[in-house]
């Protein structure tokens, strides 16, 4: 908090995430060619774009799963640097949900959810298990607490992954194509959880092609193409009257 007050004036104390001219290069491939955007607290941002456009890379730079090569990223008032303590602090404030769930297969659902609260937040076992049960209730699968991930369906696993991320009581949630690996009948159950989360005022960035979800809960929709942020608009405007030709073409392909 003190850090936020310290340099808050220059980057706007009200912004949860500030990205300025973020660049990332893999070998000779420019994944991000200078992306700048701001996310306010409680805002829900959906990112769309063709594959290879850098949208996943961008949200992965926000919690430093990818190191940005140039530019500036400030999360909750803390600038992301190479300082590992800094990074771990920021990561514990950001929940992330992956396309392939990435649950820990050797731990039960309960252990998956309580792992980080107990070992990072240092909560006692009892408290972390109570919080975990509340979260499992919230995502609708309290009866699965003692099972192993392999015993659950894809939709259930993804809901556990959301509960696991929420258990750290993060200020920001990142979703990296959370429904892409799911069977169609399971997509809804995961989107419902995400909608509910959006309504509680969580700051969210979702890489997702679920247009219905974007229309319903997004405050802004971002369009990425070849490492650039091309379009940034509220959903109505984005889906009905996009400004860029590239956006129009992309929308015509997915709608």
């Amino acid at each position: 908090m003190s850090v936020a007050e310290g340099n808050g004036a220059s980057n706007g104390a009200t912004d949860m995430i500030v990205a300025e001219d973020v660049r990332k290069v893999f070998g000779t491939f420019e994944a991000l060619k200078g992306v700048s955007t701001r996310v306010r607290p409680g805002e829900v941002v959906v990112i769309v774009g063709p594959s290879g456009s850098g949208k996943s890379t961008f949200i992965r730079t926000i919690n430093r799963l990818e190191r940005h090569d140039d530019g500036r990223i400030v999360v909750d008032g803390i600038e992301l640097t190479d300082d590992i303590r800094n990074i771990e602090k920021i990561r514990s404030e950001i929940g992330m949900v992956f396309q392939s769930f990435n649950l820990f297969p050797h731990l039960t659902v309960m252990e998956n959810i309580t792992l980080a609260p107990r070992n990072v937040r240092r909560w006692p076992k009892k408290k972390s298990e109570e919080v975990a049960m509340q979260l499992l209730d919230r995502v609708g699968i309290p009866e699965q607490a003692q099972k192993y991930p392999a015993q659950l369906s894809g939709g259930q696993q993804q809901r556990v992954a959301i509960a696991r991320a929420l258990a750290m009581q993060p200020k920001i949630m990142l979703f990296d194509e959370p429904t892409s690996a799911l069977d169609p009948e399971m997509i809804k159950e995961v989107l419902d959880v995400m909608k509910e989360l959006a309504q509680t005022g969580m700051t969210m960035i979702c890489v997702s092609h679920e247009i219905g979800f974007a229309r319903e809960v997004a405050d802004r929709v971002l369009f990425f193409d070849s490492g650039q942020l091309l379009e940034d608009a509220p959903p109505d405007q984005f889906f009905t009257s996009p400004r860029h030709e590239r956006t129009k073409l992309f929308l015509s392909q997915i709608l």
């Binding site: 990561r91 992956f98 990435n102 297969p105 980080a116 070992n119 990072v120």
Partner: protein, 426 residues
Amino acid sequence: MTDADKKLRDSQMILGLEEEVAPATLPDEGLDLRVAPRKEPQTPGEWIKDNLFSGPVNSIITIALTLFILWFGSKVLHYVFASADWTILKVNFRSYMTGRWPLEELWRVWLGTYAIALLAGLSRGISVIPFVFSRRRLVVLGLVAAAALLVELYVVTTLFTHALVAGLILTIVLGIYLGRRFRDVIPRRAVLIAWIAAYPALILLLRVGGPNERLWSGFMVNLIVATLAIFASFPIGVLLALGRRSTMPAIRYFCVGVIEIIRGAPLYTLLIFGVFVLPLMLPPQISKPPNIVLAVIMITAFSAVYVAEIVRGGLQGIPEGQYEAARALGLPYRKMIRLVILPQALRATIPAMISHFISLFKDTSLLATIAILELLRQARRASAALGFAGRSMEALLPAALLFWIVAFSMARWSQRLEKRLGVGER
């Protein structure tokens, strides 16, 4: 009970599931379980026809193998009970087990053995895995017990030793009983700690006030050296494997160097190096450590690099997503490795790891080359005695059997471990 229920229960009995799955709870789940029709149990005659004589080729193989087994079995039986003279074993049995260990200090070895027996019994007792007395198991156990009894009655000559052996068996039974009785009172962790503390305690018991290391010999040396090398090389190997994948070049090259250099040398060379060169590298104030200590150091180093390569294989099998998920939760590196990566990586390596440890245990017979009187050396010494000329078969076979018993037990233990840790495997 309906017909379907009955069929279901029958099939579960065959699978050995009758204890875990109570059929009564299944309908609650709203599951409609139907069991595929199963062939009714056959008569022994039918079984033989189906399994042994199902075609001309199979029939020939069956007959040939049966003849071979009969021929070989009769040879073995004839050898064991008629032509062999086991006096050499009777005379030398103590020297096989403890070698030149003085008789008046033998109580230390017995006390240590009793302690381990009690601990082993306890562990088995508190284990939640039930001991299933299947018919086949009972037959095997009966045969083994009968053979063991026969050997015991032949080899052991004094009443006092008979009593000690009987006491040992009773101690195991007592351990199992206590473990069962106080299963809910004894914390599992306490038993684990007891096992970890047992080793240094045992060494202290043997050494403090006991005989000089030069007198340590026989099978107990094989067991002590192998156990220490296994448990010391495991953590070192894990660290080497992690170091090999480190992003810091200095650490990475150091680990790669250590692994490749030691892995390239035969164990025999390493032992010679340990005994003749390693002491020269020590500061002059320190007198030359006993050979057994040097041997443990070298065998541990040898084993550690193999463990490192086995663990590296396990680490490579962990998807990148596991690291990312752990990092995204804010877990620091060490906790990520300890809580997320290693538990998965090590589980995958159990079979290879136990194989390596079995071969390491057998490699302890190389200690004979650096003047340590381990089991194989003792057996060969026994057969070299004048009165037993031409009896080297009788001298060496029991040594081989002892090695086999331990190696086989390790293999079985590995299977149990795999089964127990198999839960939640993706």
